[in-house]
């Protein structure tokens, strides 16, 4: 199949962005209230959590990895924080402990991947299972859902508050996107992540401390997961740990890949994640307004993802000679 030359020069990110704009226009024309400020804000707010998780995933994926334990980490660390506040720990301490737990777990994941050399897919899968199991067995016992107590105080504003009319989750997501952008673009560590993702052996030979950087990558994604979890929990006044069994982690991968980040590492930027997040946001919002059933929404989302990767493979065909071995 041959595409005209101009189309051939489009990247997947641009294709997805075009699709997003088209859908945005279609929805604006066909759906009532779609363009209303309140709807746009709620659209953004609904994907803020996904976007933050996507940023964490982006950092991991850029360094040629994947983090399937993010949702479990997010659910358990935040649920434990809430549980600690409920049993009387001061809010500050509880938040610190929860964050510490999240960072510790992701650091363990990182060590397993960097030092024990367990494949990332597998290590994060197992750590996700372990974190969920450990949390349910020893940190929050007896119940699936932990409700936010009144003592949560100012921290409930993370999910519910507004600043200058804009919901805090959106601001947080934007702030984190800027930080991630600056980190990846201007810091040496950020560059090292790219280098490792591009060619780990070359990075090692040229003196980059490959293993510590890999651990750091997962710690950063653990931090992002904790922030996303706080937003989720404070927005709905509870943390449901059964979220671990849902398709959420797949959605996170979806927005990262959709935007054109290469799962084999080294290619991608914050912009790609934003584009992917916006597409999902517009899509889900539109479908919700149209009152489409949740399962069908899933199908549509998946089909769009499929379309994006098929288009990518047709426009930028992968060559048998240059394909990387073991790249699944």
């Amino acid at each position: 199949m041959r595409f005209p030359k101009r189309l051939g020069s489009l990247s997947q990110e641009q294709i997805v962005f075009l699709i997003t704009i088209c859908m945005f226009l279609v929805f604006s024309l066909t759906l009532d209230n779609f363009l209303a400020t309140s709807n746009i804000l709620s659209l953004l707010r609904s994907v803020a959590v996904l976007g933050i998780l996507g940023l964490g995933m982006l950092i991991v994926v850029l360094g040629r990895g994947i983090d399937l334990s993010m949702v479990a980490n997010m659910a358990i660390s935040v649920a434990w924080t809430i549980q600690l506040v409920r049993v009387g720990m001061p809010l500050g301490w509880a938040l610190t402990t929860g964050l510490g737990f999240s960072l510790l777990m992701s650091a363990i994941t990182g060590v397993l991947i960097a030092y024990a050399e367990i494949p990332a897919i597998f290590a994060t899968l197992a750590m996700g299972t372990f974190i969920y199991g450990f949390g349910r067995a020893h940190l929050i016992t007896g119940t699936d859902v932990v409700y936010l107590p009144a003592e949560f105080g100012w921290a409930s504003a993370i999910g519910q508050g507004k600043l200058a009319g804009i919901p805090v989750p959106i601001l947080l997501a934007i702030a984190m996107a800027i930080i991630a952008y600056l980190f990846l673009r201007y810091s040496k560590l950020g560059w090292n992540i790219f280098n490792i993702g591009d060619n780990q052996s070359a990075a090692r030979i040229s003196g980059i401390p490959v293993r510590p950087v890999i651990v750091l990558k997962y710690v950063l994604s653990g931090g992002a997961a904790y922030v996303a979890g706080l937003i989720t929990a404070t927005a709905v006044q509870s943390m449901n740990t059964r979220i671990v069994n849902s398709n959420m982690i797949y959605d996170v991968i979806l927005i990262v890949v959709l935007g054109g980040v290469s799962l084999s590492g080294g290619r991608g930027s914050v912009r790609n994640v934003i584009v992917g997040t916006l597409l999902i946001g517009v899509l889900v919002n539109g479908m919700t307004i149209m009152d489409i059933q949740y399962t069908i929404q899933n199908v549509i989302k998946s089909l769009i993802l499929l379309l994006a990767i098929v288009a990518d493979s047709l426009i930028n065909p992968r060559d048998e000679q240059t394909g990387q071995q073991g790249d699944i």
Partner: protein, 716 residues
């Protein structure tokens, strides 16, 4: 002799050190860790759970194992080709729903329904296959998408039909047999799995398609460049995966007769875990059906066991996650370090007490300069002529390390041509009665170059496999030298069964009896191993009377005689020992005696090290291979001895001027021709007072020798 010495001797005589290394070098050892994990898991839960080993519990487990095993096989098929199939869980749910739908609502017979289900699930596999195989999408993402889509489809279908389905209930003998019965105590689904596993094993390990599958998984690029239909094979792997999952779905439907939204939920994780736990490598190319089955059993017992222990709700996943991490960690480490470990332990030196060598200061072995005026042939034009031989027309033949046999024209041997190209390094050579050249080729076996057309033929490259040898000793690794008995049987030596040709120094370091004498009978075309456990058997020569074979054991510094006939038939005796160096080829001399080449001299340091096997083992483990103690192969000599084992004379090149390194020599019409494996030349020297008409071939097959009197030389 002290007790300690005796104990040391016994230990090295009876304890099979080398077996550990040999086992590590086998592919099946990869299964050791998954197998151990499986055994530990079964034992632990067998001890923790009451009635674990009861018939009813095993029956239930067996039935579930049949289903999980099929799904794991499906996942393994795809992993082997270098992909991953996350859609197995929802495809399984689809198969389960569809089967129940066909039976309960469409009222189709069981057989037809099963075919439909397998076809539809195979169709889902086909979609994956087209996307991943032909469009080259990423397997992880693509199957993730199909996972979500198929799951959503199943959910929609359930919404539509669940109520109707729960109202009707299908029952038939076959269906009940599938769900509840089996063959005696063995559940039906287990039998299905067994049949599929046997077929899968044969296909994967013994058939072209299976090998191609593994080749693509091992290196897709190389497979593509080799011309394999990569895309088609990848695609078909996904189809097979889908069909297997469909089959599992049918069995699940037969067992539970119910479809729920959580059917097959997370099954992809269990299957992936099982496949990897079993030792199939993520990324492809390495794995087997047996590994898949071991992994499936481990995961099944683990998940069921944790569930039945009745711990609080989080403990199951916690234990599963931990076990998984631990097992994968071990497996990854094992894969990474197996070869390092193998390198460390493969070399297993043994005790070798060398007797004091004969003196070279006086007597027949006295060092002299008789080889210093050697005439040099083909200087710089030949590389490593291990053996030299002459035919009746005085043409000189030698091997070269480029895999050729080179022929030099008489009388001055200034011109040469490639007589035949063999491909491996030619070592010992011999002419048979018809003038065909028989050659031992290192790494290849015994070959023959026909006289008429110089065509190269394989004579033999394998012998009988011995019963308890861990390494495959049926292949010939290092056929070294040969000779032909009067009855036409070919006796040849294989220097070592544990090392390749260029690792001969390591075999010397080991000094274990790794070599053997093998006999090939041209009449029956059979190859049999005659004598085992020889220390680097090297030169072979039939005695002048044709009743015995003489052969050298290089690192043992001795020459043995093996009786072919007469009163001592079948017996082995040491003819000549305590040589001062390492004997190589043996050939007949014109006066009824024998020449033997000494390829290098013993050194006191190595002799001492041979008495200290633990020292040599430490050396092999802790220092780099180029710093090990090796036998010296720089200076040697030619020795003549007789049938009584008496040394008669020796020829040396004390100043190392022309031809110090010697691995073979041939007497021919008053001259002695010399070859050496590390040389760039062939030497010849005029011998005083020898029979000017004597040649090697006539000594074996000529009118005045041997049992074939009067036949004369073969037509030129």
């Amino acid at each position: 002799m002290s007790l300690a010495t005796n104990l040391k001797k016994m230990r090295y005589r009876y304890f099979p050190d080398h077996v550990v290394g040999e086992m590590l070098s086998k592919n099946w050892i990869d299964n050791a860790i998954p197998f151990a994990i499986m055994v530990v898991v079964v034992l632990v839960f067998g001890a923790l759970l009451p009635n674990f080993y009861s018939a009813s519990n095993l029956g239930i487990l067996g039935r579930q194992y049949g289903e999980l095993g099929l799904v794991v096989l499906a996942m393994t098929t795809v992993i082997l080709v270098g992909g991953i199939d996350l859609s197995v869980g929802s495809n399984f749910a689809l198969g389960n729903f569809l089967m129940l739908y066909c039976l309960n609502l469409a009222h189709l017979p069981v057989g037809v329904s099963a075919l439909i289900v397998v076809a539809v699930c195979g169709g889902v596999g086909l979609i994956n296959g087209l996307l991943v195989g032909y469009l080259r999408l990423r397997a992880f993402l693509t199957t993730l998408v199909t996972l979500i889509i198929v799951r959503a489809v199943v959910d929609l279908l359930l919404l539509e039909y669940a109520q109707d389905m729960s109202m009707s209930f299908y029952s038939s003998t076959l269906w009940d047999l599938m769900g509840l019965g089996g063959l005696g105590q063995i559940p039906f689904s287990f039998l299905v799995l067994a049949v599929i596993a046997v077929i899968g094993h044969i296909v994967l390990s013994r058939s072209g398609p299976g090998w191609r599958l593994l080749a693509i998984g091992g290196s897709r690029r190389s497979a593509y460049n080799m011309g394999l239909p990569v895309r088609r094979i990848v695609c078909s792997a996904y189809v097979v995966s889908g069909m297997l999952v469909g089959l599992a779905g049918i069995l699940y439907a037969a067992r539970l007769s119910g479809a729920g939204s959580d059917t097959g939920m997370g099954l992809e994780i269990s299957a992936l875990t099982a496949a990897i736990l079993g030792g199939n490598s993520l990324g492809g190319g390495r794995g087997s059906v047996a590994k898949a089955l071991m992994g499936a059993l481990t995961v099944l017992v683990l998940t069921n066991g944790v569930l039945r222990l009745g711990l609080n709700s989080g403990s199951g996943p916690m234990v599963l996650g931990l076990a998984l991490l631990f097992a994968v960690f071990i497996d990854v480490r094992w894969l990474k370090n197996r070869h390092k470990l193998l390198n460390k332990v493969y070399v297993s030196p043994t005790l070798m007490e060398m007797p004091e060598p004969r003196t070279t200061a006086e007597g027949p072995l006295t060092v002299n300069d008789r080889l210093s005026d050697v005439e040099v042939i083909a200087l710089g034009e030949v590389e490593s002529p291990e053996d030299v031989i002459l035919d009746e027309d005085d043409y000189l033949y030698s091997g070269s390390r480029h895999g050729d046999i080179i022929r030099y024209a008489p009388p001055d041997y200034k011109t040469h041509e490639v007589y035949a190209h063999i491909g491996g390094s030619p070592l010992g050579m011999s002419f048979d009665k018809d003038g065909n050249l028989l050659v031992c080729v290192g790494g290849m076996g015994l070959y023959m170059v026909r006289k008429e057309d110089r065509s190269v033929h394989l004579v033999t490259d394998e012998t009988n496999r011995s019963l308890f040898s861990v390494v495959d000793d049926s292949r010939l690794r290092l056929a070294d030298d040969l000779d032909i008995a009067p009855d036409g049987k070919i006796y040849f030596s294989e220097a070592t069964i544990r090392y390749e040709m260029h690792d001969w120094p390591v075999d010397a370091l080991e000094s274990r009896g790794n070599g053997r004498i093998i006999c090939y009978d041209p009449k029956t075309r059979r190859t049999r191993t005659l004598i085992r456990n020889l220390v680097f058997p090297n030169g072979v020569c039939t005695s002048h009377d044709g009743k015995s074979v003489l052969f050298a054991e290089s690192w043992g510094c001795r020459i043995n005689r093996y009786w072919l006939e007469g009163p001592k038939k079948g017996q082995l005796e040491v003819l000549l020992d305590r040589l001062p160096g390492y004997p190589d080829n043996i050939n007949r001399a014109s006066d009824g005696t024998y020449w033997v080449a000494i390829m290098g001299m013993r050194s006191p340091a190595l002799d001492l090290a041979l008495r200290m096997p633990a020292f040599r083992r430490r050396m092999a483990r802790r220092t780099a291979a180029d710093q090990w103690l090796y036998p010296n192969l720089n200076i040697g000599c030619v020795v003549r001895f007789d049938d009584n084992g008496e040394i008669l004379e020796s020829l040396w090149d004390r100043k190392a001027a022309n031809h110090p390194m010697i691995t073979s020599m041939r007497e021919h019409k008053g001259w002695l021709y010399l070859g050496g494996i590390t040389n760039n030349r062939i030497g010849r020297i005029r011998l005083e007072g020898r029979d000017e008409n004597w040649s090697g071939w006539s000594s074996y097959w000529g009118p005045n020798r041997g049992p074939n009197k009067g036949k004369g030389r073969p037509a030129a």
